[in-house]
Subunit: 191 residues, 2 copies
Amino acid sequence: MTSETRQKILEAASNLFELQGYHATGLNQIVDESKTPRGSLYYYFPDGKEEIAAEAVTLRMSEAITHTYQLINQVDDPAEAIYEMIFKASQKIIEQGYCTGAPIAAIALETSNSNERIRQACAQGYEGLQDVIRAKLVLSGFSSQIAATLAATVAASMEGAMILSRTQQNPDILIQVAAQMRIMIQTASKS
Amino acid sequence: MTSETRQKILEAASNLFELQGYHATGLNQIVDESKTPRGSLYYYFPDGKEEIAAEAVTLRMSEAITHTYQLINQVDDPAEAIYEMIFKASQKIIEQGYCTGAPIAAIALETSNSNERIRQACAQGYEGLQDVIRAKLVLSGFSSQIAATLAATVAASMEGAMILSRTQQNPDILIQVAAQMRIMIQTASKS
DNA sequence: GTCTATAATAAGATAGAC
DNA sequence: GTCTATCTTATTATAGAC
């Protein structure tokens, strides 16, 4: 039942939402970009744009969570693993010419006061991402409470740094944050 | 030259941009909310919405910079000063019912690929905010380079935490980041 | 599953009067 | 400085054919 058309729509939509945000992205543009039949959009997504956005957010964040999980567990030392994760994000943003980064931040901010369904999809995505980081830290011997605080700081600083780097068209902040997160985790007490 | 009508438009616009973002905010809504004459909008802002947004961003960030400067220099110890700054932001977001926070983040993300003028206004605002934090750290004895890295991390983590707290309608991340930034600065080497 | 046509609405922007 | 009216062009969404 995993329709290919449906999947194409979600992928095109999530890319456009990352580049432009929610309200700037029209359904026509999603149809054009996805190269899917015009008549299929409301067939697969009866609730229209709202449903597409909620599903696109969920899809994008589940991909990000899987990717983060694999990346962060390639390296044993948590400080090094998190450093490399953020540093790689800085390299990706450079490659892409500073037009991407923080895939759901725009949509989260644009809809947090106007659309509960989309807001909740964003909130769940953010929570899942934090959980992966926290689990890595717990596995590395940090107490549950300290791991939670460190994970929150890593997730928040990475999200903020992506926005700042993208806006300033400069990877420096992301690179500085990567280095600082490494130091922070290295010097953190484990209990 | 400081027209009151002009000022009212900018204030209403910057509030709406914070709540809804750029593309969801219409010129009619700005006129209504600001309680200014309909015919004045294009008189004061010949370039229309783009000009309003660029000026609103500049206004909002210069206020934020002034506010941050005063707040951060009330307390001598930099770790404590930054802790209180972020903690106060968490209290404000609670008071406001999680509908505000990160005043220009949405507009920055929505326009970073489509409007150079607005993007630059956002970039300058973010830079000014970092400068205030960096200056405080330099004054506290940190080397220029370490102060820059710490300031970048504080600015990024605060921005990210505001977005996450707002999206999750929960102040925890902001409070955890406040606590962690305090530890980070306390334990940072000064050179 | 997919099509076209269109409804219904709202957007940003401009012209010309006063 | 401010007004109204209007142009142009989007938008989301639906109806009905195939």
